[in-house]
């Protein structure tokens, strides 16, 4: 029963995190959504390892070595989660570092301001023959960032 409650809480956190990442346009809120997904996943992993009526797998006065194999909780998911929590902190640190750099570049935290940046890498792809059947981006003024690397080659053909 208790593990079903923890499992449901973890899955709800993952759902909230996915909603946060999709819905918000502020970079920091997207990072928070990612962190929520991580925490929810940790809860799910710990809930799966629960044994009914079990206790922590630490041998001390309350849990003797002889009865440990029948009353202890599965130790492996807990070991995985210990690692995952520290890695989650580290990945969040990298994401926040990138958010700081993006803010210094464009002075805004809205992710919409960076949509145009995806096209800066496009000219290197367009030069290969395989890309001829890819959908071509529009060559109108609105899709070109001032000071960009250049127009994609197909804009010059007509």
């Amino acid at each position: 029963m208790i593990s079903t409650v923890v499992l449901a809480t973890g899955l709800t956190l993952i759902l909230i995190g996915i909603w946060g990442m999709l819905m918000h346009r502020n970079i920091l809120r997207i990072v928070i959504g990612f962190s929520l997904i991580g925490t929810g996943t940790h809860l799910v992993m710990v809930a799966i390892g629960y044994v009914a009526g079990g206790t922590a797998p630490i041998i001390d006065r309350s849990l003797g070595a002889a009865e440990a194999s029948s009353r202890a909780v599965d130790p492996i998911p807990s070991a995985l989660v210990v690692t995952a929590i520290v890695i989650g902190l580290a990945v969040t640190a990298i994401m926040l570092a990138f958010a700081i750099r993006l803010y210094e570049a464009k002075k805004t935290l809205a992710i919409d301001a960076f949509t145009e940046s995806k096209w800066l890498a496009v000219p290197s792809i367009r030069s290969t023959s395989l890309s001829s059947d890819l959908a071509a981006p529009s060559c109108s003024r609105s899709s070109i960032v001032s000071g960009a690397a250049g127009l994609p080659p197909h804009c010059f053909s007509h």
Partner: protein, 233 residues
């Protein structure tokens, strides 16, 4: 409008999958075979009371080594992304940055009292990893939280990054050396039976595990402190 509808559809589908998982979840009544073996083996063979630390530092110690490598890469990555801001500050057209406001007296006094207590608590958690809940990762994270408190209390304070970086590298090298010594003198890489197992439940038991815990705690604590210090200013 269509974007919002697509988001709602995605969330509804995820919710359906998760609800199915929750409804069909059945609690176990006995340990799975691998967990049972670990719970029986760790007190017997390794002499450690905490089964999870025994798994993390001996049976699956290679994963711990890999995670140390990931933490090191992240520390290097944050240093790379945020590192050269002092030199490039003149390029950005913005007003001169104001000096950071000193923290209020409550924060400063509280930090003076709390930082030594947090450091002692972190050392206790690290060293007691094999006896009760704790271990290198948990203690290292608490050390980093004391670094956060220090930086909050005095924004002008700079942590000595050179010292922290060389300490963390030395701890990582020692960790690998203990592992190789385990391969030469005991059963395998990072086997903790390198040192005598001692009396079950005492502080100096479980072979090389307290030493590995200390090295791990020092490394993780220094790494996270360096990462946090990069975000200052």
């Amino acid at each position: 409008m269509i974007r919002r509808a697509a988001i709602v559809l995605v969330l509804a589908l995820f919710g359906l999958v998760f609800a199915t998982l929750t409804v069909h979840h059945v609690e176990r009544h006995s340990l799975p075979p691998l967990g049972k073996r670990y719970v029986e083996l760790v007190p017997q063979e390794l002499g450690a009371a905490n089964v999870i630390t025994g798994i993390l530092l001996t049976y699956r110690a290679f994963d711990t080594l890999g995670e140390i490598a990931v933490l090191f890469m992240v520390a290097a990555g944050v240093g790379l992304v945020l590192g050269r801001r002092e030199g490039r500050r003149q390029d950005l057209p913005r007003a001169a940055p104001q000096p950071p406001r000193p923290a209020s007296e409550i924060v400063r006094t509280g930090a003076q009292i709390l930082v030594p207590l947090i450091a002692i608590f972190a050392a206790y958690i690290i060293v007691n990893g094999h006896l009760s809940a704790g271990g290198g990762f948990q203690g290292g994270a608490v050390v980093a939280s004391s670094a956060v408190l220090l930086l909050l209390a005095d924004p002008r304070q700079r942590l000595d990054q050179q010292f922290l970086s060389s300490t963390e590298s030395a701890a990582g090298v020692l960790f690998v050396l203990v592992g190789v010594a385990g391969a030469i003198f005991a059963g395998g890489f990072l086997d903790n039976r390198l040192l005598p197992l001692g009396q079950f439940g005492s502080l100096f038991s479980a072979g090389a595990m307290p030493m590995l815990s200390v090295l791990l705690g020092v490394k993780v604590g220094c790494e996270l402190s360096v990462i946090i210090d990069r975000f200052r200013s």
